[in-house]
């Protein structure tokens, strides 16, 4: 019996809104990136102003590009494609708009807080606890809207793109919640629940899977919709896409520890990360080839259609970075590439190529359709494509070069057995590469500005279609397979909630298997008796270190290599970080490692160096921090910080919060007096004093005697 057709509508307004903010935040994020790129070559561009200094702008760049540009790009894709794939309207217009405005509000508050130095100090998860909670709530709103839509669908089969979005939703929720466990002690500040090795493992389990489930799986969904749309042919192999889906979400979740090779993490967890990373090549390449092969027999179209050109380069970049990723997680490769600009090149091939170009292609395809018109200029779009591609090449090659040459210079010894190069020499050597990279970024963003003009003219030439209508029969209660043959997998293909549950189990088990050792590590972390909690002044200094984003350029992890031990000192032990909430191992050495910096230089060296690094290290590219010399140290929260640390298990004696301030003052006086001897006159209550206290403590606990620290009785 033929079912009656039902009429429903597609809301284009929300799609248009998400498309506009995708472009807007894309430009903001890229401009921030351009600024920090040139800051590394010309430190004067930090402007001696806290809010424009590298350590604060860099998290704005990463957060804006990931969560604002790509985030809104995901929502644009989902709000357009999901109802059309399911032949229904979105579940709730109100929820759509709440989702939209709340997400933009989160982005604005993220930018404001990060520039103000309010940060949790964990890369790619820098936002503080109130914003973390807001993100959770918005994610729930998005989830209700998405699943509501799925449940009222008129198409029984869930297209593979929808699976990727379901997995994205559930996994991002899990990652965000687990990694954001933190103990607030004021309106805008908290400490990570985990410490040291545990914190590092949770953070990189999160960090790696944020790449997987925020930058990859939702965009794979976008790819599986827009590539067939733009080429007007179905995906090359639907069978392949099913294997692609399950293999990708299963394997990705295990691979996080490859960010922590040669660190204090147990060996077997490191090997697990490597093995799964290598296996990841298969599903990733299956996805890439599936996308590219969709265009088989349509290569003549690719020559003419800039949209398809964007998609081809996006998929190629996806293939390149997913080949490179496993290579970088091999220990022998990682020993060279880790902490260098190679990593930066790697992520930017993904971000500029895969995410950027896929977004641009989707925008060029989508906007004319939303406005019932043709693209204003194909030629401009083609120019954008070539300028953008050149930008990616000019970005990536200098960074690979810089990474490789810096790593080789770090590791080079003279025949006498001493290190051949000072760290600073390696920095100066790659400065030209930093300039070239900035030029690459400038080209890339110029292309985006061409796109803005092109899309603006397109919008002006058309008339917005706020609503489109569709017709389809409602689903029958009982399902009769169209071709008589049904298998259990097609059972799950029709059932969104079960799909969600199975995805959650899949990523959950992978997650638990990876996280369990984190918590069992405690028994594997040899406690070092001489490692003591930070003094109150050091703790305040540490918070300044986090506020200024020092961890973005300095690692605190000396790996057990000959050159690192020769350059920095004794390699880092897991037991040394047990009071580090959050850990500050870092992931990049734009400057030298700081784990053994304590006691290496006199206090006055640090004082002058923070005022102007070039006074002490001519040719340094580090920003000036003059405000640290002027700002009074805010001690209003010191007691609360001590109490928070006690709750997290740091063994300060009972009631120490009441004595902390007196100890802090005493230590300030000692350092200020020492500074005065070297003609660095400062009041004891300045922020610089606290920072010096922290830096001088770093890595000294395992040395025989304590240098100038106030011991806690």
């Amino acid at each position: 019996m033929q079912q009656p057709l039902e009429r429903f509508h597609y809301d284009n307004k929300i799609v248009r809104a998400f498309a506009y903010v995708t472009v807007l935040w894309g430009i903001v994020g890229m401009l921030a990136g351009l600024l920090i790129a040139f800051q590394l070559a010309f430190p004067a561009l930090n402007f001696d102003f806290p809010y424009t200094t590298f350590g604060r702008v860099r998290p704005v760049h990463t957060n804006a590009v990931i969560f604002a540009f790509v985030g809104n790009g995901i929502f644009m894709g989902v709000y357009y494609a999901l109802p059309r794939l399911l032949k229904t309207s979105m579940f709730s217009k109100q929820l759509s708009w709440i989702h939209f405005w709340a997400w933009q509000l989160i982005i604005v508050s993220a930018a404001v807080t990060l520039l103000s130095g309010i940060t949790s100090g964990k890369e790619y998860a820098e936002l503080e606890w109130p914003i973390d909670i807001a993100i959770t709530l918005v994610w729930v709103v998005f989830g209700i809207n998405m699943f509501g839509t799925i449940l009222q669908r008129r198409e029984r089969h869930l297209y593979v793109a929808v699976w990727f979005w379901i997995a994205t939703w559930v996994t991002v929720a899990m990652l965000h919640i687990v990694n954001s466990f933190e103990l607030p002690f004021s309106m805008m500040k908290s400490y990570s629940w985990y410490a040291g090795v545990q914190d590092a493992l949770v953070q990189w389990w999160y960090g790696h899977n944020a790449v997987a489930f925020f930058l990859t799986t939702p965009y794979i969904g976008v790819m599986y919709y827009f590539v067939p749309k733009a080429s007007n042919r179905p995906v090359y192999s639907y069978r392949w896409s099913i294997v692609h889906f399950w293999a990708l979400i299963f394997l990705y979740i295990w691979a996080g520890p490859h960010h922590l090779l040669y660190t204090a993490l147990p060996d077997w967890a490191q090997s697990l990360g490597t093995v799964f990373s290598v296996m990841l090549i298969f599903p990733s390449w299956a996805g890439m080839l599936n996308g590219l092969m969709t265009l088989r027999g349509a290569w003549d179209k690719v020559r003419e259609d800039p949209i398809l050109k964007f998609f081809v380069v996006a998929l190629t970049c996806y293939g390149m970075s997913t080949f490179e990723g496993p290579m970088l997680s091999l220990k022998s490769m990682n020993a060279i590439t880790h902490f260098t600009d190679w990593t930066v090149a790697h992520v930017h091939v993904g971000a500029l190529g895969w995410n950027g170009f896929l977004t641009f292609g989707a925008l060029y395809w989508l906007m004319p359709r939303l406005f019932g018109t043709q693209l204003y200029s194909k030629k401009l779009a083609a120019n954008h494509f070539w300028i953008g591609t050149l930008g990616i090449i000019l970005y990536a090659i200098p960074m690979y070069w810089a990474g490789f040459s810096q790593a080789l210079m770090w590791k080079e010894f003279t025949p006498d057995g001493t290190l051949k190069y000072q760290f600073l020499q390696t920095v100066q050597n790659i400065r030209p590469m930093y300039i070239l990279r900035g030029v690459g970024g400038l080209l890339y963003i110029s292309g985006v500005i061409l796109m803005v003009y092109n899309l603006w003219k397109t919008v002006a030439s058309g008339k917005f279609i706020p609503t489109e209508y569709g017709e389809a029969p409602a689903l029958t209660k009982t399902f009769v397979p169209a071709h008589g043959y049904s298998f259990w997998h097609s059972w799950i293909e029709r059932r969104p909630i079960q799909m969600l549950v199975v995805s959650l189990i899949l990523v959950g088990i992978g997650g638990i298997v990876e996280i369990v050792p984190t918590f069992l590590v405690k028994s594997n972390v040899p406690t070092i008796a001489s490692v003591k909690p930070y003094t109150p002044l050091e703790l305040e200094g540490r918070d300044i270190y986090i506020r200024e984003g020092c961890y973005l350029c300095h690692s605190q992890m000396v790996r057990p290599f000959r050159d690192e031990v020769a350059r920095y000192g004794e390699y880092s032990k897991a037991g040394e970080f047990v009071y580090d909430h959050p850990f500050q191992w870092g992931s990049k050495r734009t400057g030298p490692d700081l784990h053994r910096v304590g006691g290496k230089y006199p206090n006055s060296w640090h004082y002058n160096h923070m005022m102007n690094p070039r006074l002490m290290s001519p040719g340094s590219i580090m920003p000036n921090y003059p405000w640290l010399l002027d700002n009074d140290l805010d001690t209003s929260l010191t007691a609360a910080k001590i109490r928070a640390m006690q709750k997290l298990g740091v063994p300060y004696e009972d009631g120490y919060d009441k004595k902390a301030l007196a100890d802090l003052k005493a230590q300030e006086e000692v350092i200020a007096a020492d500074l005065k001897k070297d003609k660095a006159n400062t009041a004891p209550n300045k922020e610089i004093v606290a920072l010096i206290a922290y830096l001088q403590r770093l890595g000294t606990d395992i040395k025989a005697k304590n240098q100038g620290t106030v011991t806690i009785k």
Binding site: Y225, I242, I509, V513
Partner: protein
């Protein structure tokens, strides 16, 4: 973290990763088998979904 105590108290907790690995390898073998034996017409129809309006 308190739940470490629960994890540690499970006898033979080390076998859990192995079991889960086996479960998923088996799962994939079955998915792969299904995928390559699945009905061609259904696959074609499903892959056409984005192209319908």
């Amino acid at each position: 973290m308190k739940f470490i105590n629960y994890l540690e108290s499970i006898t033979g907790v080390g076998i859990y990763p192995l079991i889960s690995l086996i479960i998923f390898v088996v799962f994939f073998v079955i998915v792969t088998l299904y995928v390559f034996t699945a009905d061609k017409k259904t696959m074609e129809r499903d892959s056409q979904l984005p192209l319908e309006q």
